[in-house]
Symmetry: C2
Subunit: 97 residues, 2 copies
C-alpha cells in the first residue's frame, strides 16, 4: 500500500491552496499526514465517520452503485474525501485564491 499512498500524496500535493492532506485507513487511523498529530487524529476519525455513512447510504440506495468521492464545502474551507480500497484520502483546501 505504501507506494500507492506516496503516489497519491504527490498527486494531491499539486492541488492549489492545500491546507493539509491526510491518508486514513479504514479504521479511522491517520497513516500519513501533512498536518500535526492532533489535527490528523481529529480529522481522521471524523472523516472516517462521514465516509462510512456515505458508502452505506449509496449502497443502500442502489447495491450496484459505488461511492467514489465527496466534496464538502464549509464557511472556511473545502474538504475532499477520496475513498480507495484499504484507505481514503482527506484533502483540506482553502477555496480562496
Amino acid at each position: 500500500m505504501s507506494a500507492e499512498v506516496e503516489e497519491m500524496l504527490k498527486r494531491y500535493q499539486g492541488i492549489k491552496n492545500i491546507v493539509g492532506i491526510i491518508v486514513v485507513d479504514n479504521d479511522g487511523i491517520a497513516i500519513k499526514s501533512t498536518l500535526d498529530n492532533q489535527m490528523s487524529v481529529h480529522y481522521a476519525g471524523h472523516m472516517q465517520t462521514v465516509t462510512e455513512k456515505a458508502r452505506q447510504v449509496i449502497l443502500d440506495l442502489d447495491a450496484a452503485n459505488e461511492f467514489t468521492s465527496m466534496r464538502m464545502r464549509t464557511s472556511y474551507f473545502e474538504i475532499m474525501l477520496m475513498p480507495h480500497d484499504n484507505f481514503f484520502i482527506v484533502v483540506i483546501q482553502n477555496p480562496c485564491d
Copy 2:
C-alpha cells in the same frame, strides 16, 4: 418557507442533466420532489442521515465553522446536498453529457 422552496426548486431545475430534485425537511421528510414517492422517501431519509453527520462533524472540528454544501460522486451519478435553515435540497445529477 414555501415561496423560498419554490424559488430554490426553479433555480436548481436549470442545472444540466438533472435526474431529480428533492426538498427535505430536517426530520428527513420529502416536502417537495420531482421523483416518484418511493424514491423521494428513500432518498430523503438517507440524505438526511448524511447531512446530519456532515453538519455534526464540521461543527465538532471547529465550532465557528458551518457546513454549506456537499457533492457526492458515485459510479452512476452525482448527488448535491445544500442545507438551509429548516430544510435541505438534494439534487441528483447525471454527470455524463
